[in-house]
């Protein structure tokens, strides 16, 4: 048994943990959980825990639904909100086939494969997400209207604000689980908050995002709110994105940093950006996976709807943030397309592979976009060579379907399943009659 597993077993003994939740995600990024007793854990480390994958989104295959969960001891955490005398802990799991091979349908494995690809090229991939979400008054049932808990704006300090308490409680829990929080503040929309996680390697970050969503849900229930990561819950108000800062390291050196370059950006950094932009449309179905995602992307409010990059341009899809000249280690690029409802494992994987493709093929970065691209006319944008992102889930799926890059990254099984699932979502959505339609044409 290795050190980490020993540590886990010891911690469980010492902290009197009575339940261990084994976490994994389905293809859409929904967290799944199985609870086991501590006595079963040794066995789980060695043999894994068998389960029937056929009822889990994206894991099912006709004749091979038996799958195995193997907990990753490095992700062991006590779940603080379960509190009480007898603790509960969780670990993320890898999903294996009965032969002990990694399951091609495991999103965590998809990201691991992409990271391995980067490692072969000598890179490690770090991410730092800014997660936005709304807090609403508690919903009794699904049809209740969404009422934000306050009416404040960007960075507003709300006196005796409930959001304040909320963020403090959530951050305390996160920190107690070893997830470092960089930053938190009130966002532009009413009831909208942002919490930034400290940068970490992409796999840990993705695990952290999954944990983060659970923590926020737990705290909101405790405090009597409803929290939502829905990309665009309120028409006319800003959507919730998950702007993510990306960087590649070669050993201890930041590969994006070059002291003399424009914005101190290295050739690798520039090619990485070029890759992101070049493949942005193909990966959009993954980074923005719901019908609702496109209402954020195309709802104005500085949403990154166009494939361009800028330095201090808050409408660009890719932004090169300012950082102090002597802080080469913090050189990074910010991808602003991603939303908070994406499956972080798959999203990080496709973003990484898109950028890496740019590096491997030596893509050239287009001109910087200095204008607010929202204010340009279509013709101006065309003249500048700035293409839009897909306008709907339907368009995004159509572009992704033709993408070798996404197919390679996700693996054939996940790729096929994801497309089928999204086509179905679009079909279901199209069958809806919305209040908008009723209001507008219902009286004709």
């Amino acid at each position: 048994m290795d050190k980490q597993q020993e540590y886990v077993l010891r911690a469980i003994e010492e902290r009197d943990v009575r339940f261990i939740r084994l976490w994994f995600t389905d293809v859409l990024g929904v967290l799944k959980s199985v609870a086991i007793a501590p006595a079963e854990l040794e066995g789980a480390f060695i043999e894994g825990i068998g389960f029937d994958g056929s009822s889990i989104e994206g894991l099912s295959r006709v004749s091979e639904s038996d799958l195995i969960l193997r907990p990753d001891p490095s992700t062991f955490q006590i779940l603080p909100w379960r509190g009480g005398k007898h603790g509960t802990a969780r670990m993320f799991c890898d999903i294996l086939t009965p032969d002990g091979e990694s399951s091609p349908a495991d999103p965590r494995n998809v990201l691991k494969r992409a990271l391995a690809e980067a490692a072969d090229a000598g890179f490690t991939f770090y991410t730092h997400p800014e997660i936005e979400f709304y807090l609403f008054k508690a919903l009794e049932n699904e049809t209740d209207p969404l009422i934000p808990i306050d009416n404040a704006g960007y960075f507003d300090h709300v006196a005796r604000g409930q959001g304040h308490d909320f963020r403090r409680a959530a951050i305390t829990l996160l920190e107690s689980m070893g997830i470092s929080v960089e930053f938190s503040h009130h966002e532009t929309g009413p009831g909208q908050n942002e919490i930034d996680l400290r940068y970490a390697d992409a796999l840990s970050t993705a695990d952290n995002i999954m944990t983060f969503r659970s923590v926020v849900k737990e705290v909101s229930i405790e405090q009597g709110f409803t929290a939502s990561f829905m990309p665009k819950p309120l028409a006319g108000q800003p959507g919730s994105g998950m702007h993510t800062h990306l960087s590649l390291f070669e050993g201890d050196t930041n590969a994006f940093y070059e002291p003399g370059g424009e914005y101190q950006l290295s050739t690798t950094g520039r090619a990485f950006i070029a890759g992101l932009l070049h493949h942005a449309a193909e990966i959009t179905a993954v980074t923005n996976q719901f019908v609702n995602s496109y209402k954020r992307l195309w709802g104005g409010q500085e949403a990154p709807s166009y494939r361009c990059w800028g330095h201090n341009n808050r409408s660009a899809l890719v932004r090169v943030p300012m950082y102090k000249p002597n802080k080469g280690q913090s050189a990074r690029v910010e991808y602003r397309g991603l939303d908070a409802a994406a499956n972080p494992y798959l999203a990080f994987a496709v973003m990484l592979r898109a950028g890496l493709k740019g590096v491997q093929e030596g893509y050239q970065m287009p001109e910087e976009a200095e204008d607010n691209v929202w204010e340009l006319s279509d013709t101006e944008r065309r003249a500048l060579g700035i293409d839009p992102l897909p306008g709907s889930l339907n368009e995004a799926v159509a572009v992704m379907e033709r993408s070798e890059l996404v197919a390679e990254t996700l693996g054939e099984q996940v790729f096929t399943h994801f497309l089928a699932n999204k086509r179905q979502e679009w079909t279901d959505y199209r069958a809806q009659v919305t209040p908008y339609e009723l209001a507008r044409i219902g009286l004709i």
Binding site: V62, E404, A407, E412
Partner: protein
């Protein structure tokens, strides 16, 4: 002057290459004095002795340098060289064989005394480990009797150099004895055991030096050093990395984490003492890479931590490595505890889940891990190298050591002797392998002694080889004598592996000589299981049946079977292969050529084993067609027969057969023969797509040709006709028309006839119907020969229409009714056999319909697309994922073929080149005509070829030619794995095949949707 000439002459006669230069050296050195004082006989004896050195010229040069070295005892040297005795012999042997030891003597001339006496403070070959340890510890002024010896002089104050000097001196004594031994191969075990003791003692001294450097001598930690590999096996060579594992425990009352920290430092310090630069040369590298988690793991662990690792995480090869572990330095009681605790794990390793796969992978590593540049000269690695011998012995130990404690020695030669004594391997074979091992080791030692470098490469120049042979005292003939003996030894090691491993599986009654052994039932079962047989009892029965008895057959099987057993085990189904082999041998009995072929042709036996283990289809077919085994020896017999040759064979057979039953049997026999030929080649060559066109389709054509001939003659006879009343034609349709059918396909056809002018149309029609009917029944009725279902469903009006039509009727029908799908079906129409004139007329008739000038009209196009879409949604069987159905699934055969056919309907009217029946050919023609993008054509062809190969591979692997599964990529792992092996994937890469198929199919589908659906 005359003396100088005679000296040169003497030297030349004695074997010096550069006698002139050497004579100069001779005269300018202390030798001149010795030489002058000798009488004539003494002079000849002196030059003769010098000439017996492995390399006389280099030896002389070293001697001259030694004579001039600072601090040399000249008088002593002269006295030794004046006398024709063993002392002189020894000095010459060392100087002539080792430049490095010569250099050592030049810098340490006082050590000449060691060489002269071949003992250093009473230590030499065979010295006890304890004695060597005492000497080495004394060199660093540590107390050998102390529980924890600590150097009382620090390394930098000279203890390190003193330790290294002592080491060299003992090495010098050992080397001298070794180099002057009459029979170095006999002395070898003692030499390498002494070298292992010396390495252990050096580690002990290095540890004492390390402790001396640490605060409080690192008393908080008990550190045990276990020797692994050759050090552990007491079979070390002159210079190589010393493999170790460290175990650390806190001393009484010390804190564990402090102890581990100090333990790591101490271990690192010990290793440094052996390898860091100093005045005296370094000894060797200490390599701890065999520890748990390898290079990433902590350098030292507690005993407990070692055990938990081994119990849970260790791989099979780690237990194999542990087999060699032995206490070499540090805390002996801790080592003993470690060994006591790990031994059970080692000896139970054979029961682990993946033992078989792991052992096979280890074997591949042994054979494969040779740098290409060295592959030809390696003594240690690669097939037939030293590592191979060690692996063979260790694998046998792991397999049988579980129940037999007598064979657990860590020493290769001792273990081999024990295996032989306990009856696990034949006595002769064991002795032979031991002799190979000793020979290779002596070569390795001599190569290393030259420069004291860690090398395992045979020299390649003939001069060097000659020197090597002399240094090893190996009597060889001519210049390439050593080279050829070395190569023969390697071949022998390979052969002996088979003999040792598989021969004892034969029953006692099958022993070839009194020295052979036969395993007990349990031991045989353990061994069979360890090499991959899933049903050892069944296998034992087959082996027994094959080899028992006094027949010539049994006698040859006894020779043959051991190696075949090994080959079967390399394939995907060893048990099935052995059973099939037994059936074959039962059928063929004592057929003379069969056994002779297998005995005399290694290639044929190897191929047979491979075929039986890889393909159930081939195994079944060989059982039915044993003659085919003879083809295995002759590549020419495995190349496909041309249609012309096949037709001649067919005609020749039918001439002799007059009743339809025996004629049908002959036709089907010939087809089966050709399918078998194709299948064998498929298995041997990773299932090439060309088999369809070169073998399977021609075989079907030939069968139709034969059946037509018989059917016509029958119909004539029944009506008392002298000649046929009508010309008759069989038109191949569908995949047969495209010459791309697989092993499991039906033959799609249409029948055409054209009554002779003046013949009674009614009679002609009845006659033609009978001909068509009997073709189908001749080929399709059940019998012991495989069927070929003849399917005429693509004819006008399908199953409702008449089975045969006249040419005129076809003309009328197509003129009036030809529907889109019928035109499409005609695209692959190809006259297969029958009347040639009619073939031309029929082709002329259908061409305007299938290659319409105007292309496809909008309505027709719409209808085609609709039919395809409906087929997609309706024909796919339930329960099969669309991604895995090779024929009807997404991107499968049907998608690609419809695309190709649509391009033909649209453009063949204008483009002659599109007028072909093959899918691949159509797509290539469309590409060349600019009708299909190159990349699109590639993707369609890639998916189509892979699907075609997969369908054939599935039949080959399973032997099933009927049922739904023939067209579905297997999801069951075992089946997928067999199919992937057939297609040429490495073992363990079945998942890659699945990914490759899904990718190819997805890409093809994308192209198809664009091109076909528009």
């Amino acid at each position: 002057m005359s003396r100088a000439v005679s000296l040169t002459g003497l030297l030349a006669r004695a074997g010096f290459d550069e006698a002139d230069r050497d004579a100069e050296l001779f005269r300018s050195s202390f030798l001149a004095q010795v030489y002058d004082e000798c009488d004539v006989a003494g002079q000849a004896a002196l030059t003769g002795a010098l000439g017996r050195a492995a390399d006389p010229d280099r030896g002389l040069l070293a001697l001259v340098r030694l004579g001039e070295a600072d601090g040399v005892d000249g008088a002593f040297l002269r006295r030794i060289f004046a006398a024709d005795g063993p002392e002189r012999e020894r000095v010459i042997a060392v100087l002539g064989a080792s430049q490095a030891l010569g250099d050592w003597l030049v810098s340490h001339p006082e050590d000449v005394a060691i060489v002269a006496s071949a003992r250093y403070r009473d230590i030499g070959v065979g010295a006890a480990g304890e004695q060597v340890r005492r000497l080495m510890l004394e060199a660093v002024s540590a107390d050998p009797a102390a529980d924890v010896p600590v150097a009382s002089v620090s390394a930098s104050e000279g203890a390190l150099d003193e330790m290294r000097r002592t080491y060299r001196r003992i090495l010098l004594a050992v080397a001298t004895e070794d180099l002057t031994a009459d029979d170095p191969e006999t002395l070898l075990p003692a030499v390498s055991a002494t070298l292992a003791h010396l390495a252990s003692a050096a580690l002990e001294a290095a540890l004492a030096l390390g402790r001396a450097e640490m605060a409080d001598h690192a008393r908080e930690v008990r550190l045990a050093v276990l020797g692994m590999g050759k050090t552990g096996g007491k079979e070390l060579n002159y210079i190589s990395d010393v493999d170790v594992i460290y175990v650390a425990e806190p001393a009484e009352g010390a804190d564990e984490s402090d102890a581990l920290r100090s333990g790591s430092k101490l271990a690192a310090a010990m290793a440094r003492m052996c390898s860091m630069p100093s005045r005296e040369p370094a000894l060797w590298e200490v390599d701890a890479a065999l520890r748990p988690e390898g290079k990433n793991g902590p350098l030292v662990r507690t005993l407990e931590s070692h055990l938990t690792y081994y119990e849970r995480w260790a791989k099979t090869w780690e237990f194999q490595a542990l087999l060699k572990a032995r206490h070499v330095a540090g805390d002996a009681s801790l080592s003993a505890a470690y060994l006591a605790a790990t031994r059970p794990l080692v000896w139970d390793a054979v029961a682990r889940d993946n033992f078989v796969e792991d052992a096979q992978a280890m074997r591949r590593r042994v054979e494969a891990h040779v740098p290409i540049a060295e592959a030809e000269r390696q003594i240690k690695l690669g097939r037939g190298g030293l590592r191979d011998v060690e692996f063979t012995v260790q694998l046998l130990q792991l397999v049988h050591g579980r129940v037999d404690e007598t064979i657990r020695s860590a020493n290769t030669l001792e273990a081999l002797a024990a295996l032989s004594a306990a009856g696990y391997v034949g006595r002769d074979h064991a002795a032979e392998l031991a002799s190979c091992y000793r020979f290779l080791r002596v070569l390795e030692h001599r190569v290393q002694l030259g420069r004291l470098r860690r090398t395992h490469l045979m020299p390649s120049s003939s001069d060097e080889l000659r020197r090597l042979a002399r240094a090893a005292r190996i009597p060889v003939d001519g210049n390439d004598g050593l080279e050829s003996r070395w190569r023969a030894t390697r071949r022998n090691v390979r052969r002996l592996h088979e003999e040792l491993f598989y021969r004892p599986l034969l029953p006692a009654t099958a022993r070839l000589s009194a020295d052979d052994v036969s395993l007990t039932a349990d031991a045989a079962s353990a061994r069979l299981r360890a090499i991959g047989y899933r049903d050892p009892d069944g296998a034992t029965r087959h082996i027994k049946a094959l080899t028992e008895g006094v027949s010539r057959r049994a006698a040859i099987q006894r020779q043959l079977l051991p190696v075949m057993l090994g080959w079967f085990a390399e394939g995907s189904d060893p048990d099935g292969a052995l059973l099939a082999f037994r059936k074959l041998s039962d059928t063929l009995g004592s057929t003379y050529w069969y056994l002779k072929l297998l005995r005399d042709s290694g290639a044929a036996a190897d191929r047979l084993a491979h075929l039986l283990s890889a393909s159930t289809y081939v195994a079944d077919n060989l059982a039915q067609l044993t003659d085919a085994i003879a083809w295995l020896d002759e590549d020419e017999d495995l190349t496909p027969r041309s249609p012309g040759v096949l037709a001649t064979h067919m005609d020749a057979m039918l001439v002799r057969r007059h009743d339809p039953k025996s004629a049908a049997a002959a036709i089907r026999y010939l087809r089966r023969r050709e399918l078998t030929r194709g299948a064998i080649r498929d298995v041997l060559e990773s299932v090439p797509v060309t088999t369809c066109r070169e073998v399977i389709a021609p075989a079907a054509d030939m069968a139709l040709h034969g059946a037509l001939r018989v059917a016509m003659s029958e119909a004539n006879t029944a009506r008392g006709l002298q000649a046929a009343p009508s010309a008759f034609l069989v038109v191949a349709m569908g995949r047969l028309g495209g010459e791309e059918i697989g092993y499991a396909s039906d033959a799609d056809v249409m029948f055409v006839h054209d009554p002779d002018p003046g013949a009674d149309p009614q009679l002609a029609n009845e006659w033609a119907l009978e001909v068509a009917g009997s073709i189908a029944s001749l080929l399709g009725t059940m019998s012991s020969e495989p069927q070929l279902q003849v399917d005429a469903a693509l004819r006008p009006e399908g199953k409702q229409g008449p089975m045969v039509r006249t040419l005129d009727s076809y003309a009328e029908y197509y003129q009036r009714w030809a529907l889109g799908w019928e035109r499409q079906a005609l695209l692959r129409a190809r006259p297969a056999c029958g009347d040639e004139g009619l073939a031309e007329r029929f082709t002329a008739l259908i061409d305007p319909h299938r290659y319409p000038d105007r292309g496809v009209e909008a309505a027709e196009l719409r209808e085609l697309r609709r039919i395809k879409a409906r087929v997609e949604s309706e024909r796919l069987p339930r329960g099969v994922p669309a991604t895995h159905h090779l024929k009807l699934g997404r991107g499968g055969l049907s998608d690609v073929e419809w695309t190709a056919q649509l391009l033909q309907l649209q453009h063949a009217g204008q483009h002659q080149d599109l007028r072909v029946t093959g899918t691949r050919e159509t797509l290539l023609a469309a590409r060349d005509a600019g009708l299909l993008a190159g990349a699109d054509a590639d993707r369609l062809i890639e998916a189509w070829e892979l699907a075609t190969r997969l369908r054939n591979a599935i039949v080959l692997a399973t032997g099933r030619t009927r049922g739904q599964r023939v067209d579905v990529l297997p999801e069951e792992r075992q089946a997928l794995s067999s199919v992937s092996r057939l297609l040429g994937y490495e073992p363990g890469h079945a998942v890659d095949l699945e990914q490759d198929w899904l990718r190819a199919a997805r890409r093809a589908r994308t192209v198809m949707e664009r091109v076909f659906y528009g």
